[in-house]
Symmetry: D2
């Protein structure tokens, strides 16, 4: 799949990020191999030439061993960088001109580099899953866990009054670090989450949990994939030409539905959240359910009152599971499956991309994509927050993406 | 171009609309040719099979003469329909069961049919222009008008305080007619303009007039098409693969820029609004101008205070021209060129598509498109209003589309 | 279909041929519109720019009326050219320097122009048929003829000893005319039919008539389209991806096979030769029949002993019909359907393309195509001969192409 | 490149060949993993499902280690098979019913399996070269050899009288082994080389050596890639759309031509045979040279008088080199570069594919390809012979393919 990258590339690219944006600023640092600056550049046109994504799979050289050497080389240099920077307020002996702002900026970039690597940890899992699914042998990536039994809690609706609410993160990019003057660092956020601003919401209701595989089966049995009135026009056409008739990775064997997971092929767990559906499918399912997808603002407004807990990649289960018994608040808002929203991925009012090369991190992708919220079972724990915005085109299915319904309130 | 349709098809399809949605409800009406129900269906899947758009150009039969007969047939029947309906409060002698609601509904559909035909009048001009532009002879569609001279007024910025404002049209679809009970009909609006709702706006400034060809040339001379940092990533890639280096229809001849118009090839008028640029180009131009595109809400909030006057297709000039001297309000908000906004084409809160077949009119296209506002020199006079939403994908260039800048306010 | 051209283009292009290759050589001739030199050039790169074939359908201008004027203009000039040339041995009064060679060359080009126009007469019918077939109304081009009844004669095999035989036409291009010095002109032939040369043939047998629709149905009922072992690998893949399950223009209606013809849709005539099959299908059918396609040399060796009689376009039936009762010789070798051979379209030994611009007529297409022989019901009478070579890619189906079987002899 | 396969796949597929066509016939053999029967099937539809070639690159599992185990498993079984078969005239103890024919057949399949593996040894080198060439680092596969110096011998023409000659191999497929009854085995040949048959040749002349890089440069400097009159129409269009302006792997660095080889990037050796040109380029070059490509029959008629000696892969140089000083016979007919002929890849008269599954080995590819002769520097020594027919589409460039000229004789 041309939108996926091989594991070796992910390993090298996350290392490249530290080398390019932190170490390359230091006079004492010597690049592992200068050619890597272009070879493992993803899309930073201001950094130089990039290797087209569909070509990444062709990189038989450098070998995996050499990439691991590269990582060790950069890890060592980063350790030295920390020691110098932290202990002496400068990065190189005798280089006293590095001022506090510069220090804060570099510290912030390191934090960004960690968040960046976490993003690739998740992408790597999604890419590996897709690659293994293409293999007729359907090999497993991790051992299977004992299956959970039981059924999902009944879906309930949480009412919310709306009104003029605040949305977005208050961080102000990499100047935040500088301003903090060594005090407790403000929480990191991507530029696309900023600035915090006001949005008017009509009263709405949000589903207590994501839609389940059982509910999706009901949609399929009601001919959901064959009824154009349920779909966006482009969605129906995409489903038709791509032959979609079930979520990605669903496989029928001897009359029963199975699901390919990172633990191999398993019987479909009807109580688990549906996963690997595109935004088009999510939208059609919502219409079939006499509901709709939430806007990203509705989602965030509810989520910001909850603690960021859930089934993340640390569990090593790497597959969504049945929701816990509900209580007063929606469950599974974080982890398990990314939740498609109805919001186009657009800049917030007065959005400013980060400065310099890093302006390319998020802003230039703000078209023809939809926002997803909440993280998944493949997201590293600690990576997401209520304001976090993920984004994919409406036809993307290989991420761990599911659906939470919403509807208009009274 | 697969997104364009031949003139004969436009002629037949607009007639088909009246036949299908008005006359086919009447017992006394006999279809001209029953096969036309599918042949000239554009995209109403609930009506039946459609002819794929790229196939429309293959319709050598029915001949133009037969299509004109079809139009005469339907015109005649519509005249009879009006006479019956208006004079006797019913559509057929002796059919007293048609109640007021049904009458109001049909009257409303006729109004929609007219608005629909106006949309196709504009599309037909855009399609004809594209078709003629593919012809090495560059033939003219209308005689050339005497050229205007002079320069465009200086661009100024109109400040607006924003706040919680109301957006959208108060019409409520075809139930509106029923409720009007013969009283003065409320203004017609498409379902995508409704409902009227509240949106919060930050302070902003709107340009006094659209960007001109002279300003676009400056963008080009500053290497605007070659600088990735100005573009959305997908926009830059599209420009590169499509070979965009100037607006559509700009042609260089002997070192001077010309523009293909519906009056044939003409030297570029530097004072006129730039036209036939895609949303991607508009976005890059705005960034280069240290500005941005307005949201559709900002645009509408300013426009609703202005009267709907401008250079529409009735002038028969069919090309945008120099802005009049500015005064206190922005000029050329209506007519001349459609203005790209930064807003994705999305449903308004609590949007409900029209009922029945007509649900397919607008709602199913609400993805991967951007909103344009204000009408153009090819739009029939009386067709647009402040709340009117046109929409095209970001890469569309064959409409009469231009740019008005906006920027954040104090 | 991008390989087809509109009728208007065929009309203009055949006129263009005379204008470009005959009249443009004359000082007294004034072009109708100089732009037509490029506009109606098919593929002569030495003549100048051409309009890409897929763009031909976009030529709304010049109108049909103007194209007919163009034809009248050139017809008139050609009449003058004949009068001058024939009566006075020169083309212009007072221009005595035109010698006999030049005269003979021009006379030969006129003959070529006629043959060229005949080729386009057939292409026009095939293109019109394809265009009408895309129309859901399935309109007819000519009135239906009374259907023939009866069954096809039983297939018999004509044995041929082979050996070292002569193949090809003895004409030697446009120098032939010059050498004839006013004596009886040698028969015209295309350069690709020359030179006459020796080929060694093993003993073989040729079928007495083309394969019929009844025989093709048997192939289909024996799962012929679904058995890879019968097909060339590329053919099977093409059939699969194109969804071929019957010849082009076969349509099943209420459980019975029909065939779209230039007289509209008709029940399939089981006794008629199968038509509109690709070379891939012909090859698979032959293998299924425990036979093979003849080489073009085998075909010609048999055909050169027969007179060139058959069902050509002059009959105005424009569809192949049942073979006459057989006698000692194969029937329907000429007319009805072009017969796919197993021979790749390649130059004969010592082949020399015509000189000048006309070198592009045939030679540059000698790759990835197969030879068809014998003409069809859409070929003008008098156009083909035993040495005539038609050629199309193996996947072409829109020509009137059928199958005659061959097998190895004893 | 979708026409290439990864090295791991080549390793497994050649092993699969022995397992499927030899070992699977034995009751005592247990498959390594039954799923491999489909996983490593290349294109034998009669064997079962295959993995589409573009998917081969996605096979991260089985790992290389497991593939090597697979090879060891099959090697061991083949050793046992030889021991049983050779010593006891049967393949399994107690299985006396295996008769001589069956034994001969299996022996013949083993021979075919070796020839098959040799073909993949060459393909693997071509595929690896293409893969490495996509890597911006241009890594080497083998260490560089000391470069040869000097210039190529002058090109001379070898005249040949032609006439009715014999072409092809006298082997008669796998019945040959059976007939040999333990006597000296007849030389192995592929079915596409058979049967031996008569062809009539006109007098011709063959170049004494392949065309050199120096000669190709002269073609380029004479604008060879930009002159349509030199090219087949499809070839010129391919060159234009693919951007061909030099042979594949030629790279200009600082104004000098280099060539990517399996030893990395090297300055172009002007005296060496040109390599990695498509059939389209070869054809255009020949026309530019006032010559033509030889037919495969002309080539074979000359070659069968020569001994099969040349620079094959055993030299480990893996790149063509300067021709030796000429003598009376053409040089470099074998090895160095495959030589494009003008012959379409077609079955010989009375060709019969091998029986059973192996019918799919060659015959089903006999369309839209051209024959190449003589082997290359990447061909295993002992693999080719005068009758050997290689075949690729006219646009293939990644094989070690070059040009030897021919022209008509007196």
């Amino acid at each position: 799949m041309t939108t996926a990258s091989p594991a070796k590339w992910h390993l090298a690219h996350t290392t490249w990020f530290f080398e390019t944006f932190v170490l390359a600023r230091e006079r004492w640092y010597r690049a592992f191999r200068p050619e890597f600056r272009e070879l493992f550049n993803s899309y930073y046109m201001s950094v130089g030439v990039t290797l087209a994504r569909p070509h990444r799979g062709l990189l038989t050289r450098p070998s995996l061993a050499e990439v691991m050497e590269y990582r060790a080389h950069v890890d060592l240099a980063m350790a030295a960088w920390f020691e110098h920077g932290a202990a002496q307020g400068r990065f190189v002996d005798g280089l006293d001109t590095v001022d506090a702002d510069e220090r804060a900026l570099s510290a912030w970039i390191v934090e960004l580099g960690l968040a960046h690597e976490e993003q690739h940890q998740e992408l790597l899992l999604a890419d590996v899953k897709h690659l293994l699914s293409q293999n007729p042998l359907l090999p497993a990536y991790v051992p299977a866990q004992p299956a959970a039994f039981g059924s999902a809690p009944k879906l309930r609706w949480h009412a919310c009054a709306g009104g003029l609410v605040e949305i977005g993160h208050a961080a102000t990019g990499h100047s935040a670090g500088a301003r903090s003057n060594g005090h407790a660092a403000p929480e990191f956020a991507f530029d696309n989450e900023t600035p915090r601003h006001r949005v008017h919401l009509e009263p709405f209701e949000l589903a207590s949990r994501p839609a389940t595989n059982a509910e999706w089966l009901a949609f399929m049995e009601d001919r959901g994939y064959a009824r154009p009135e349920l779909w966006l026009s482009e969605g129906f056409e995409t489903a038709r030409t791509q032959g979609w008739a079930a979520p990605l990775y669903w496989i029928e064997r001897e009359g029963r539905w199975h699901e390919f997971t990172l633990s191999g092929l398993r019987p479909l767990d009807l109580a688990a959240p549906v996963c690997h559906v595109s935004g088009f499918e999510a939208d059609a399912f919502a219409r079939w359910s006499d509901a709709r997808l939430p806007t990203e603002f509705e989602w965030e407004h509810v989520a910001e009152k909850l603690s960021v807990r859930g089934r993340f990649s640390d569990t090593q289960r790497l597959h969504p599971e049945r929701a816990p018994a509900g209580d007063d608040a929606p469950v599974q808002m974080f982890g398990d499956v990314w939740e498609w929203t109805s919001s186009d991925y657009a800049p917030y009012p007065r959005f400013e991309p980060w400065a310099g090369n890093l302006a390319e991190y998020n802003g230039k992708f703000m078209c023809n994509q939809r926002v997803l919220r909440g993280g998944s079972c493949a997201t590293p724990s600690g990576h997401v927050r209520a304001t976090y915005r993920n984004f994919f085109p409406l036809d993307a299915r290989w991420q761990f993406s599911g659906v939470r319904l919403a509807r208009d309130g009274a």
